[in-house]
């Protein structure tokens, strides 16, 4: 029931569009060394109508993509139980599977389906997650599957799953000299993309509000950049910054009340905050250098940003109360566009070293820096709300694509799209 409530709130106006758009396709390039073997048995179903989605397959793909699990191939399964009493544990011990997910689907009146699932520990022969069920319509099968993945992930890793989250990204399609720009929203696995805004002028810097209901982004109009806020469900939008010069890099504060943004109306790029309710603008930096790419610390007390005040662009931290600024990054030729993990422990940046642009991770406690990626021209890192993964934009075979790397650098996958350039990913928060 709780899940149903959650569904109606979050997916109110985000509808499933039948393959109207090219989908992103996951391509796993490398994984962690020690994977937890798990079997996701095809869910039982006795109905006559075809099901819209293979729930077990979606769960299997989610868990595999996390880089922590190894799925037992279906073709190796010796039995396909859908109820706990039909499970022969030795069938799964033989396959060296530590856990088994079973489930069944039942058609209800009024076009609803009841999806039941259970997580079993093969060694102890006990339920880790007792039988539990979700009622969904045909359009929400993927939501139900991601919900199951989140449950299983949290039970087995202790970390909240982020499979039910979404991503924003920008695509540039068609004639490269006059492309069509689309701001799109999709599930975190790239499925069910929908166009939020499209324009013949550039769109960049999409950013989520903390409740996931609104977004902010930069869109050119009449050859000048403007910042917009848009409510996803209604499409209602508001132009909030149209000053002379730059209007860029909007970033929502953790309390949802303010936007950090970049304006050059007073001559050069400075960080400002805008109180959304009162429209009060406050200038936060004051330096003749470039100050840009603000991002709030999780507690809202500080803003990390890019500045070339020291010669090369590096990351600085601005104390929101005192407006005092201190430098944060020292390794690499340059560091730009910082994002902090939700626990405040790590800073993710785009670092240039030896002429290459890669995603770097700096431990804020020890100062240790690790390069996470080895792809080409990496940019726009965005961190999953559970802090496990970083999605970023890169160039692959001459095209802009999205890719993901785990915060420990061990798991990597690409999300190539069928056509056009994909860039500027922004990972949503948890939906409340």
């Amino acid at each position: 029931m709780m899940f149903k409530k959650c569904l109606s709130a979050v997916f109110l106006c985000l509808f499933y569009i039948n393959s109207a758009y090219a989908q992103l396709v996951i391509e796993i390039t490398s994984g962690a060394d020690q994977l937890l073997p798990i079997a996701v048995v095809p869910f039982g179903y006795s109905g006559v109508d075809a099901l819209p989605e293979d729930v077990a397959k979606i769960v299997e793909d989610d868990l595999t993509r996390s880089g922590l699990f190894q799925a037992i191939p279906r073709s190796n399964m010796l039995s396909l139980p859908s109820k706990e009493e039909d499970v022969f544990y030795r069938d799964w011990r033989v396959l060296k599977s530590d856990y088994v997910i079973i489930g069944n689907i039942q058609k209800l009146p009024n076009n609803q389906f009841r999806i039941g699932f259970e997580l079993l520990n093969v060694l102890s022969q006990k339920s880790v997650q007792k039988h539990s069920s979700i009622d969904v319509g045909a359009r929400n099968f993927r939501d139900a599957a991601h919900y199951i993945s989140d449950k299983v992930y949290e039970l087995l890793t202790g970390t909240k799953g982020a499979f039910s989250t979404r991503i924003l990204y920008v695509t540039a399609e068609g004639d490269r000299k006059a492309p069509l720009f689309k701001l799109q929203v999709a599930d975190a696995d790239g499925h069910r993309p929908q166009v939020v805004v499209e324009s013949k002028e550039p769109i960049l810097s999409p950013s989520w509000s903390m409740d996931g209901r609104k977004i902010a982004y930069v869109m050119f109009r009449n050859r000048r950049p403007n910042i917009f806020i848009q409510e996803l469900a209604t499409g209602k939008r508001q132009q909030i910054a149209q000053f002379r010069g730059l209007n860029g890099a909007p970033a929502w504060s953790p309390d949802g009340k303010k936007l950090a943004l970049v304006l050059s109306k007073d001559n050069n790029p400075e960080i400002y905050t805008l109180d959304i309710a009162t429209q009060k603008l406050e200038r936060m930096t004051n330096h003749y250098a470039i100050d840009t790419e603000p991002s709030w610390e999780p507690d809202g007390k500080g803003i990390v940003f890019t500045s070339d005040r020291g010669g090369n662009p590096q990351i600085y931290r601005l104390d929101v109360n005192s407006k005092r600024v201190e430098r944060v990054t020292f390794e690499g030729e340059l560091n730009t566009r910082a994002r902090m993990t939700p626990d405040g422990r790590y800073l993710v940046t785009v670092q240039k070293d030896d002429g290459n642009y890669h995603i770097a991770l700096q431990d804020m406690k020890t100062g240790r820096v690790q390069i996470l990626t080895e792809t080409y021209l990496d940019e726009s890192p965005s961190i999953a709300p559970n802090g496990s993964m970083v999605m970023y934009a890169t160039t692959y075979q001459g095209k802009g694509i999205l890719a993901v790397v785990s915060v420990d650098g061990l798991v990597k996958y690409k999300l190539p799209s069928a056509d056009g350039d994909v860039r500027e990913p922004s990972w949503s928060p948890y939906f409340k």
């Binding site: 006059a178 166009v195 939020v196 002028e201 550039p202 950049p225 730059l246 050059s264 730009t336 080409y376």
Partner: protein
């Protein structure tokens, strides 16, 4: 035709257009898509003008010939009857991560300055661009810095600051699409656009 006038018109007519312009691909009550049909035709024309002329420059481009790229007169320049600027370059190139006006840009810039000084009603927009390397918002700032460098060069020669507007497109509107130094060089530029 003044692109700017059409643009202003489009902004005024915007809110109505958003309501009317809901997506054709959406089903049910999907109001989450906002189509930008109010200004799309005008903007398409504007985009074609600039990229079309610059792209020909790319086709002719060798590494050494970059600064002598011949850019066609923009339609806007013809429309406002600026005969004295016929054939004068309107695209100026920059070094990587730099915003210093190159010596070879000075002659053409001096002609623009001369024109602007003798036509105090003339207005220009300096559109700064960066190559694809580095992050997008930083490149927005870098493009602006380049546009401002050209702006300073013109004001030193007597052009009123009120005649100049600087805008940055960052790395969003490249004219060359390779991922190599030739393409990057062509993209690090400021375009002069008469309004």
């Amino acid at each position: 035709m003044s692109v700017n006038k059409l643009g202003k018109f489009a902004v005024i007519g915007l809110s109505a257009a958003w309501i009317a312009g809901c997506s054709t691909t959406a089903t049910d009550t999907d109001t989450s898509t906002v189509a930008e049909d109010a200004s799309s035709t005008e903007q398409a024309a504007a985009t074609n003008d600039t990229t079309g002329s610059s792209d020909q420059a790319f086709g002719a481009g060798e590494e050494g010939a970059l600064t002598s790229v011949i850019v066609e007169e923009t339609p806007a320049a013809q429309d406002t009857g600026m005969d004295s600027l016929a054939g004068v370059e309107t695209v100026f190139y920059f070094d990587f991560d730099k915003s210093i006006v190159r010596p070879e840009s000075r002659e053409a810039l001096a002609k623009h300055a001369e024109y602007l000084v003798s036509h105090p009603d003339a207005r220009i927009v300096l559109e700064g661009h960066a190559d694809e390397r580095g992050t997008r918002e930083y490149n927005m700032a870098l493009g602006e810095r380049r546009a401002k460098a050209i702006s300073r060069y013109l004001t030193i020669q007597g052009v009123a600051a009120s005649q100049i507007e600087t805008v940055s497109f960052g790395e969003e509107v490249p004219v060359a699409f390779g991922h190599d130094s030739d393409a990057w060089q062509l993209n690090r530029r400021v375009e002069v656009r008469y309004e």
